[in-house]
């Protein structure tokens, strides 16, 4: 099942312990407390459940939902 932007937002919010409504698609997720461990955690989950092929550097390079969506097949 392909990812959607809303699913990405929800997963990120869950991982950061925040409300999805508080995370805008163009927010820098590092400002929300995203770190490398959380990136790996999210990536592992998405790989497992959504056959994602992006790698860590792809995501960590621009940590924002709008940048991730195409990489995660949710464009």
């Amino acid at each position: 099942m392909p990812l959607t932007v809303e699913q990405i937002r929800a997963d990120i919010a869950d991982c950061l312990g925040e409300d999805p409504a508080d995370i805008a698609v163009d927010d820098d997720l590092v400002d929300h407390g995203l770190d490398s461990v959380r990136v790996m955690t999210l990536l592992e989950g998405w790989r497992r459940e959504h056959s994602v092929t992006a790698d860590f550097a792809d995501l960590a390079e621009r940590p924002a939902i709008e940048a991730w969506a195409p990489l995660l097949g949710a464009a």
């Binding site: 590092v30 770190d35 790996m40 592992e44 390079e61």
Partner: protein, 1287 residues
């Protein structure tokens, strides 16, 4: 292809470069991963993939050179990746191959800085080994390289063109680094770290100390399974943290427990790439940052995790500021000055890769050098849980110790992942369940049934059994058991008439004598507890004790002995006639629960407190003692301890229970070693006690050796027994047992025991518990500490005192409920710091309440004292803080300035006493303990830099001396080697002088001009100095007007190795080295040892035309020294000292194959302290020496090349040599460790020496003989001999 680019290093790379430059031959910075690929692999395609990735990854293609502008990296256009493909090795052999490869140091200037290997370890099972120097690539960079290699290989395997590479450029990192360092963020980060760490605690060391990084790493591997990993992740989620936060919190808890601290600083390696261009650069970016945490027992684990999560977030905001810069800002650049404790290195790197569909698993083989302890946690995104590698510095951790730390960590992870995170941390013990069972139960298995007797009952029974035996000897008086018993009975009945009985207290103030023993027995026989009132105590103190204890009466030998205004009923023995009383044992309703004695001890508030000890406690103690060290009728026990000190209790009563004889010393005699020696000898004393400081005084008296034979056993207690004292005991009284006992007055004299063994090292343990006694070493939360972890010592069991007389609150605060014993049982809190050994013995570490702090740093005085005591010539030692300065006091023959200089060599600066004061003897208090208040104040001699600097150059050099030696107090006239300089430090100094002033010095010039002043003068005179240190006669120390010592070089021809010896022999002894001809000039090498020795005779006569001569030589130098001695004697000169250090005569070597040049190269490398690895030619060897930063590498190539000739020439001449005969004694030092040449024996000298061969064995190998600890021993023996010759 040309076009090599040259770039500066980033700050991150510079840190790695500097660490490597400190020890160029260290392979510790090799990092490596091994990927296990379970499926088919095409090695050809793989090599093609590696070539492409290498072409894409600039970081792999650099070499690093030191230039006048600092280190520079040169980026080569094309590098063929080194790849070994092995299909013939088993998995085990492949493992060995990789270990061997990792052990090879990398030459940064030569490159390449990486290497690959591909092993086929089974059908369709491949291992890919990837090694990179840490300067080039960090852990994240490894993962990038692995991913890209897999990607390229997969494309190639499918016949496709790989997607274009996206690696960033190295120059991006360099520019980024430069921008940061010029930015306001840099300044802000610096300010942040200065603020956070300004009042930081000492680095928490699990090993209890720090050390320089070693060349290798000790690794302990473990794995946290998927289930626990999931639980950790769940817990983290519940606590709104990440799983690394949880693991960091666990390590913080482990660290706090292991070091008994609440304020700990951990190190966090950070990959430092989020949101940065560095994400695409496989380079070296990672940084280590301090995380400061408070681990309070009352806090919950959830709170600790929260603290970690917030702390990590804070750290991340300032993570670009380099660890090296933080240390520099805090003034911690010197060696051994830690900032952080264990590192927790979480590596969530993306290793989910496949090779054309074949999945791979990665394991890390090496993650870089370790200063103390690093916990690596690898999350390989493969669903297999977490891999946990504990990497320890081998200089600090043994395998077992490292494994124990890892087990405790894993145990706590398991436990905390399952437990309620809102429990206080106190609920979680650091010990594993196995360790808890060990320290609580196994080590305390002391239960023993004893009959319900009293202290006095068995004495009366003994008197009835052996009435005629001699019970007591004092001066000319001898009392039989019957006589003593009768006299005591009469007095006892008199005391009963005055109100004495069970539960009552009777004071006794009688100087040591037969009457004292009678009085004590009488009190006990009456059923009362005795209260010793030391006649030597000041009147005010005695008055206090009488009011405090309120005895029913007090026995004194004469009127006026005790203060008269206390209202105590006095029984004066002088003129007292008790003959009317019956001489039979009096009746009394005494039970084992009644008090036997009340002894006052000093209180921390300065108010003495009376400890009430019941009969059953002391009865248990004496029954155990008789079992452990059976006394017989023939034994004679010395009574010399004042009755106010509880050790006297066993002295008085143990022999009288067992039919032995009590030998009573003169009053005051316990402070006079000569008197005691005589008394022991004349009275054939078999058993006695010493307080350690008194033991040392006793052993220092030459009469002590006269006690050999009769004296069977000596007990020590009352203070920590220094190992050095135990050693000198074994030397002076080789046939006598030495037992170390420990116990506070609050637990019936002693509760632990340890038999000293002369072959043991380290601190002398206080040992294991006696009968019916339990020892607990507990942390602040009263949980048991596992072996090796310090905690406070608590005592429980049958020997505990009832408490403090009339002080219920004080009693309740020190005698607390025993959580591990049966309900209602108590334990006594000693205030002593201790740790268990793995063998179930306790080691005393100091006081919990006598800790001193100097300039904010914690100092354990015991450690300073141990260091002082370990110096040769120091008999006893103590240290204290006086006016904020640490002062050491020593007795013995050692030169205090030399001792201080020696400590400066082994201790951090803040632990080196500002002064060491030599005393004839330590002042002792009335009960024989060291009286610190009576120690004299030291006189500081005008400060270290006593005179103003003569020139700017002198000042600059003094500063460099201080920096390199880490001795801030260095002055312009202090000699380098006296301040702890070593040849390695000399190399650093020379390099620093070159850096700062451009002046070219050689290490040799330091021998000749060893002080900043002399060196400045030399530089001012612009004498290059090169070559001087290669002359045949090398002045190692020219000051002093004593008889010079001539030391002949070993096989390599250089005498620099004797610099350390010269420094240790004292100020007034000139020392000259004799060195091989031809090191500097073009002189031809000698044809025979006789020819060479003739030359040396001429040389030494230039310094000292006539005898007496003193000669010494190590190895070949010993044979030459012998030959020189023979020549001098033939010329009619006197040779008064011939000392050989592990040298053996020619016939021992004859017939043995002489070394080829190959072996000569090995010998040259050994001279530099380097083991030969792959060096084949002399050029290889020269290159290695240069890389190793060996002082030898400072020599011109010509000289080094000459040494390679000199070594085999000596080997040849040695085999051809005919020994002459030396008239006199020979002093010999044997390197006694087992050696390959087991046929070597000093006995072979017999035909060549007319006198005795006086040998000293040293526990070391031949090369170790000239190193610190062993050199100390050699110097001590030599110094003693030289002093005899001087006299």
């Amino acid at each position: 292809m040309s076009g090599a680019a040259v770039l500066p290093l980033t700050a991150a790379q510079s840190g790695m470069w500097f660490a490597q430059a400190l020890d160029p031959l260290s392979p510790a910075q090799n990092t490596a991963e091994c990927l296990e690929i379970d499926g088919p692999l095409d090695p050809e395609l793989f090599a093609a993939a590696l070539r492409r990735v290498t072409a894409e990854a600039e970081a792999l293609r650099v070499t690093v050179e030191d230039t006048p502008d600092g280190p520079r990296q040169r980026l080569a256009g094309e590098v063929e990746p080194p790849l070994a493909v092995r299909t013939d090795l088993s998995a085990e052999e492949a493992g060995a191959w990789m270990r061997a490869d990792l052990a090879e140091p990398v030459d940064l200037a030569a490159g390449p800085l990486f290497g690959h290997a591909l092993f086929r370890v089974g059908p369709d099972r491949w291992w890919w080994y990837q090694r990179v120097h840490h300067l080039a690539v960090d852990g994240y960079g490894h993962a990038l390289l692995v991913r890209r290699t897999a990607e390229v290989y997969t494309a190639l395997a499918r016949g496709e063109e790989p997607a274009p590479g996206r690696f960033g450029r190295l120059s991006d990192l360099v520019e980024d680094d430069g921008r940061y360092r010029a930015s306001p963020a840099f300044a802000a980060d610096r300010a942040h770290w200065a603020r956070v760490l300004g009042d930081r605690p000492d680095a928490p060391r699990l090993a209890g100390r720090g050390a320089l990084p070693s060349r290798g790493v000790r690794r302990c591997r473990a794995h946290i399974g998927p289930e626990t990993t999931e639980r950790v992740r769940d817990l983290a989620a519940r606590l709104r943290a990440t799983w690394p936060d949880v693991l960091i919190a666990v390590q913080a808890l482990c660290t706090a427990r292991a070091t008994a601290r609440t304020d700990v600083v951990l190190g966090l390696p950070m990959m430092g790439r989020m949101g940065s261009a560095a994400l695409r650069v496989p380079g070296m970016v990672m940084n280590v940052l301090p995380l400061r945490l408070t681990v309070a027992p009352r806090d919950t684990f959830a709170e600790l995790v929260r603290q970690v999560a917030l702390g990590v977030r804070e750290v991340r905001r300032h993570q670009r500021y380099r660890y090296e810069d933080i240390r520099r800002d805090l003034g911690l650049l010197g060696e051994n000055r830690g900032l952080v404790g264990p590192l927790v290195n979480v590596m969530p790197f993306d290793y989910a890769v496949d090779f054309a569909g074949v999945p791979a698993r990665s394991r890390n083989l090496a993650a870089g050098p370790v200063e103390d302890l690093t916990v690596h946690i690898h999350d390989r995104a493969d669903g297999g849980g977490l891999r946990v590698d504990h990497d320890g510095n081998p200089a600090l951790y043994e395998d077992a110790g490292l494994a124990a730390h890892q087990e405790r960590f894993l145990h706590l992870v398991e436990r905390l992942a399952a437990a309620d995170p809102h429990l206080p941390l106190a609920a979680h013990t650091a010990a594993t369940p196995g360790e808890s069972a060990l320290v609580l139960d196994e080590f305390n298995r002391t239960a023993r049934k004893v009959p319900p007797t009293t202290l006095i009952g068995p004495i009366e029974a003994r008197a009835a059994r052996t009435p005629e035996a001699t019970a007591l000897v004092f001066r000319d008086t001898e009392l039989s058991y019957a006589e003593l018993n009768t006299r005591a009975n009469r007095l006892a009945r008199h005391l009963q008439a005055r109100g004495a009985g069970p539960g009552a207290v009777v004071g006794v103030s009688v100087p040591r004598s037969a009457e004292l023993v009678v009085a004590l027995l009488a009190v006990l026989k009456a059923g009362a507890a005795y209260l010793p009132l030391d006649p030597d105590y000041p009147e005010r103190r005695l008055a206090y004790m009488l009011r405090d204890a309120a005895p029913v009466c007090a026995v004194a030998d004469r009127a006026g002995r005790l203060p008269g205004d206390t209202g105590t009923d006095l029984v004066v023995l002088e003129g007292l006639d008790v003959s009317a009383y019956a001489g039979t044992d009096p009746a009394r309703a005494l039970t084992p629960a009644h008090p036997a004695y009340v002894i006052h001890t000093s209180g921390s508030t300065g108010r003495p407190k009376g400890v009430v000890v019941p009969h059953r406690a002391i009865d248990n103690r004496l029954r155990w003692m008789q079992h452990a060290y059976p006394l017989g009728a023939g034994d004679r026990v010395l009574q010399k301890t004042p009755s106010s000190f509880d050790v006297s209790v066993w002295e008085f009563f143990w022999p009288l229970r067992e039919g032995a004889t009590l030998v009573v010393a003169e009053p005051g005699g316990h402070k006079d070693p000569v008197y005691l020696s005589r008394l022991i000898r004349e009275q054939s004393v078999t058993t006695c006690h010493f307080v350690p400081s008194m033991l040392q005084a006793f052993l220092s008296a030459k009469e002590a050796a006269g006690c050999r034979g009769a004296l069977r056993r000596v007990f020590c207690s009352g203070e920590a027994l220094p190992r050095e004292s135990a050693r000198s005991f074994a030397r002076v009284l080789p046939g006598t047992e030495l037992h170390n006992l420990y116990g506070p007055t609050e637990a019936a004299v002693d509760v632990t025991y340890h038999a000293c063994d002369r072959s043991d090292g380290g601190p002398v343990p206080i040992g294991r518990p006696v009968w019916n006694t339990r020892l607990y070493v507990l942390d602040a939360a009263l949980r048991p500490c596992p072996p090796g972890v310090p905690g406070e010592l608590y005592l429980a069991g049958g020997q505990l005192a009832d408490g403090y007389l009339g002080r219920p609150e004080l009693t309740a605060s020190r005698f607390v409920a025993d959580p591990f014993g049966p309900p209602g049982s108590r334990m006594y809190r000693t205030g002593d710091l201790a740790r268990w050994t793995g063998r179930g013995e306790v080691v005393y570490l100091g006081r919990t309440d006598d800790q001193v702090k100097l300039r904010g740093q914690r100092v354990e005085l015991g450690e300073i004292e141990a260091a002082l005591a370990s110096r040769p010539g120091v008999d006893g030692a103590c240290a204290l803080v006086r006016e904020d300065r640490l002062v050491g006091y020593v007795t013995g023959t050692a030169d205090p300035a030399g001792v201080r200089a020696a400590l400066a060599r082994e201790l951090p600066e803040h632990m080196v006493p500002a002064a060491v004061v030599a005393l004839d003897a330590f002042p002792l208090s009335p009960n024989g303990k060291l009286d610190r208040r009576e120690l004299p104040a030291p006189v500081f001699a005008g400060g270290a830099g006593g005179r103003p600097f003569a020139s700017a150059r002198e000042e600059a050099l003094t500063r460099l001396f201080a920096e390199v030696l880490d001795v801030p107090g260095a002055g312009p006239d202090d000699a380098f080697f006296d301040l702890g300089g070593t040849s390695l430090l000399a190399v650093r100094l020379v390099a620093r002088v070159r850096e700062e002033s451009g002046a070219e010095l050689t290490v040799g010039s330091l021998f000749e001009a060893p002080t900043p002043a002399a060196l400045a003068a030399r530089l001012d005179a612009d004498r290059p100095g090169a070559g001087d240190a290669l002359g045949v006669l090398l002045p190692l120390r020219t000051e002093g007007d004593g008889t010079p010592l001539f030391a002949v070089h070993p096989a390599g021809g250089l005498s620099w190795c004797y610099a350390g010896l010269a420094a240790r022999l004292g100020d007034d002894r000139p020392v000259y080295g004799l060195q091989a001809r031809g090191l500097a000039g073009d002189d031809r090498l000698p044809g025979t040892l006789w020819e060479e020795a003739e030359d040396y005779v001429a040389q030494l006569r230039a310094v000292r035309p006539h005898g007496p001569y003193r000669l010494l030589g190590w190895s070949v130098g010993g044979v030459l020294a012998h030959t020189v001695a023979v020549l001098l004697q033939r010329a009619g000169e006197e040779v008064e000292l011939l000392a050989l250090l592990d040298a053996f005569p020619s016939e021992q070597w004859r017939g043995r194959p002489a070394p080829e040049e190959g072996d000569a190269l090995t010998a040259v490398l050994r001279m530099a302290g380097v083991e030969r690895t792959g060096e084949r030619t002399r050029e290889d060897v020269l290159a290695t020496l240069r890389r190793a930063g060996s002082p030898l590498a400072g020599l011109p190539d010509r000289t080094l090349s000459r040494i390679v000739d000199i070594v085999p020439n000596h080997a040849r001449m040695m085999r051809e040599h005919e020994q002459g005969r030396y008239e006199g004694d020979m002093l010999f030092f044997t390197a006694a460790a087992p050696r390959a040449e087991e046929w070597l024996t000093r006995e072979a000298w017999r035909p060549h020496v007319s006198g005795a061969i006086v040998n000293h064995d040293l526990e070391c190998t031949h090369p170790e003989l000239m190193r610190d600890r062993h050199l100390d021993e050699v110097a001590a023996v030599l110094t003693a001999r030289l002093k005899e010759l001087d006299a």
